[in-house]
């Protein structure tokens, strides 16, 4: 059973002013998130992904549809009961949102106090969490004495304090530099692996999805326009918006402008071969080209690895007799996707 099951979920805000139109932030979204998933939700700002995340822990009420958390419907529940649900869902934020007037230990203890833990139970739990995020020596520090990465680690410890099964990450690495981003992503991976916590990651950065997500949904205009295994979405994005996102991390097919530059620099026919892991291996392709006595060079593209599965697009400039090029390409085309730039 899905841990989070969204069915036709819509969030609309009432019109502003007299002639204003209703603003639909999330539009008829249906999504199942299974236990153990690291589910990425990607989209440009304003795509509705942050709102969608806030519907899951009911910080914002959905206007229509059904949201089941672990089989329990939360749409329409009274605020008092929602507080109990929220205790079982951790959340981390782009701006960390730590309590500036409380120490690191005080921040991590806060959700435990809300959950009604006794002082004697809180202390060892806080120490354990600080150990897990590697900040044991910072227990008495205040948030403004920490670096961005340390702040987010405190945020993660605080979100995990009550041992939730679900963690919501709202652009959790967007305010961090690339090194720190990797450090925080590694920590999230450990949270998923060691504690089996299901994570929903909202981001506009495709490389965050690439490094930690198992599944991904692409949002645009409040709708989920594409979703599935990260490998499938990355290697064969169906939608124009998904293609633009994929292009930010995967060097794919050269654009017309890039093609013009390639033509200027390289003689021969420009051909793009797209590999997906089950397709023809690169080695076979190169052997076939060499056996046909063709002269070729790699001019564009790359191979990517997603959770141990490789895919990519390689653009070659091939020189030789047209007839033999045609016959080799035909042979390759039966096993990999071949597109020739005209």
């Amino acid at each position: 059973m899905a841990l989070v099951a969204l069915k036709n979920v819509t969030k609309a805000y009432p019109p502003q002013g007299r002639d204003g139109a209703e603003i639909v932030a999330v539009d008829d979204v249906t999504l199942d998130i299974e236990p153990g998933d690291v589910y990425g939700i990607i989209g440009y700002s304003g795509a509705g992904k942050s709102t969608l995340l806030r519907l899951v822990n009911a910080l914002e009420p959905a206007t229509a549809g059904s949201i089941e958390i672990d089989g329990r419907e939360i749409v329409g529940l009274p605020e008092r009961e929602l507080r109990g649900i929220r205790l079982g869902i951790g959340m981390i934020f782009q701006q960390f949102n730590l309590f500036g007037a409380k120490t690191v230990a005080g921040n991590i203890a806060y959700p435990l106090k809300v959950a009604g833990w006794s002082k004697a139970e809180i202390e060892p739990r806080v120490a354990e969490l600080l150990e897990f995020v590697g900040l044991a020596e910072k227990a008495k520090a205040f948030p403004d004495q920490l670096s961005g990465g340390q702040k987010q680690r405190v945020g993660i410890a605080r979100a995990l304090a009550t041992s939730p099964r679900l963690l919501l990450a709202d652009e959790a690495t967007s305010a961090l530099d690339p090194d720190t981003t990797q450090e925080v992503l590694e920590l999230l991976k450990r949270v998923n692996r060691e504690f089996g916590v299901t994570i929903i990651v909202i981001t506009h950065e495709m490389d965050v999805i690439q490094s930690i997500a198992t599944k991904v949904a692409v949002m645009d205009g409040g709708r989920v326009i594409e979703n599935g295994e990260v490998f499938d979405v990355f290697s064969r994005p169906r939608n124009a918006s998904s293609q633009r996102f994929v292009a930010t991390v995967v060097k794919g097919v050269p654009s017309p402008a890039e093609l013009a530059v390639l033509r200027e620099r390289h003689e021969g026919r420009i051909v793009t071969i797209s590999f997906r892991d089950s397709d023809a291996s690169q080695a076979q392709v190169f052997v076939e080209l060499a056996n046909a006595g063709l002269d070729f060079e790699l001019v564009y593209g790359g191979i990517n690895d997603i959770q141990g599965r490789a895919f990519g697009h390689l653009t070659l400039a091939i020189r030789g007799a047209d007839a033999s090029i045609d016959s080799v390409l035909a042979s390759i085309a039966s096993r990999a996707e071949v597109t020739e730039a005209r």
């Binding site: 822990n57 869902i89 309590f99 959700p111 205040f142």
Partner: protein
């Protein structure tokens, strides 16, 4: 100068009366103002417990009373003071009017300082399952404590100012002392002595407030 030494005991009594009025006004007006300010903050649209009726009524009442010049305000609430305290003049009646006026001013200062608390930390507390009253008590007020102390310091200085005015219309204290023995009897030395002591009070209070705020904000 000789006259000042003659009046020595009265001078110190007046100084004590000023401190007494300031302290009690701060205690009563400060507490009522804190409650009103928190209610304003929580009931505003998009607040922790939005309630347009409570917010608008309170907002209008405070906006009505706050701009009234204090010296006129004392005169206007005198009948009420007589009814509640039993007497319309004297220090206790003044504390009554001062407390009312101060609570309106303090409620605005409290509200203004509370709205500066980042919505993000409130959202974080909500996401952890905390209810609105707990969030007010354990997040909003602690996060705004430094600025709140500075706000209260500002108000205490204003209250010292108001007690001096109260001296004109039936209250005791240094304001009354300066008027009666200094201004009306053409003894500038006495006026200046009262004035200097008020300045000392204000400086000491300001210093104390700054020190406390710095301690709370750790910078």
């Amino acid at each position: 100068m000789d006259r000042l030494f003659e009046l020595g005991p009265d001078f110190w009594t007046a100084a004590f009366e000023t401190l007494y009025m300031v302290a009690l006004t701060l205690l009563i007006g400060g507490a009522i103002g804190l409650v009103l300010g928190i209610v304003l903050y929580a009931s505003r649209a998009g607040g922790l417990m939005p309630n347009p009726i409570v917010y608008n009524v309170l907002n209008v009442v405070i906006n009505f009373f706050r701009p009234i010049p204090f010296i006129i305000f004392i005169a206007a609430v005198q009948p009420l003071a007589r009814y509640v305290i039993g007497i319309g003049i004297g220090n206790d009646a003044m504390i009554f009017s001062l407390s009312i006026a101060a609570s309106f001013a303090i409620s605005r200062i409290v509200e203004q300082n509370l709205v500066t608390v980042s919505p993000g930390v409130i959202e974080a507390a909500r996401a952890m399952g905390a209810g609105p009253v707990r969030i007010l008590r354990t997040v909003v007020i602690p996060e705004a404590l430094g600025p709140l102390i500075l706000g209260y310091t500002f108000i205490v200085v204003a209250i010292v100012d108001m007690t001096a005015m109260a001296g004109f219309i039936g209250g005791g204290g240094l304001g009354n002392f300066a008027l009666v023995y200094g201004y009306r009897q053409f003894e500038p030395a006495i006026t200046w002595a009262a004035l200097l002591l008020i300045v000392v009070f204000v400086q000491a209070l300001q210093f104390l407030g700054n020190w406390l705020a710095r301690k709370v904000m750790r910078r």
